[in-house]
Subunit: 164 residues, 2 copies
Amino acid sequence: MTGTRSGKTRAQPLRSMAPTRRTARPAVVLDTLNGHLGYFIRRVQVWIFQDFIRALAQIDISPAQFSVLVVISANSGLSQAELAATLGIERARLARLLHQLQGRGLIQRLESSDDGRRHALQLTSQGRTLLTRAKTLAARHERQLIERLGVERHSMLLQALRDF
Amino acid sequence: MTGTRSGKTRAQPLRSMAPTRRTARPAVVLDTLNGHLGYFIRRVQVWIFQDFIRALAQIDISPAQFSVLVVISANSGLSQAELAATLGIERARLARLLHQLQGRGLIQRLESSDDGRRHALQLTSQGRTLLTRAKTLAARHERQLIERLGVERHSMLLQALRDF
DNA sequence: TATTGTTATACTCTATAACTATA
DNA sequence: TATAGTTATAGAGTATAACAATA
């Protein structure tokens, strides 16, 4: 097997996520995982989401809920199908997600006048208030992420992934 | 055994993942999501995993199963706790994951001589054969990813995310 | 017939807790 | 007491299918 033992590329990724090791065993080798973007992107995505959840824990808003509130707010009257397509969420899952948000009094579903099938989505005034707070907390989370990555690396990643 | 998890995922840029719109409504606005790395990293991670699953569908190996097989192969005799810590998988989940792989005859759990609690993990010869095939298919998946991203952007992402 | 939104099902993943056996 | 591994449970998330109302 091709363990990357020589040289400088012996990556020990995400050290902070693994518990401290105190054994005498040599560091575990990731072998060909080192060449797979999917492996590292998954690890970092999980880390970022956990940090986001912590950052917004006081208002109990998940990453998915945040993205839904932001897009409804910026596109008032959007239908569920449009919202689902925009965020890549299944229509079925979005229905339950919106049901929760409606139960918390954060959104309204108005019947569309020109198409009886559609629900025109809007934030309630309570939803607008909460979203303002959520954006503040999310911005703080992002600032810490920028501190950790460095400004240049953060914006490089943002651009590369946005253009994917 | 569960069947293949096929997905009809779109092999298109995220920007064009929204369905074609026939109305006069302007394009849906992402607002502050545009500044959040977590949003885009999640979208890309999901896309890459779906592509990986398609690429290895013929041998029914998921991303998590692949990472487990690779790391066991490169670190023979590893314990479950070490493997779990390396990959960031919960011990409880790893136990079930290994149970499946053992049921498929891909791995062995030998009792450690010096510590009766530990299981020394190894691939079976069948597991080694399958892993060779899996690595070939995964490498093909990665090459297509490189084609899509461009070599420089791929290695930039790999390094930035590995050093996270 | 196709689309919008809904409900239901199944499976995966994450996060715990509780348990055993070993140390 | 602490650790390694297991089992169980609950809650998200994902992927389908089927359905009613509407177009």
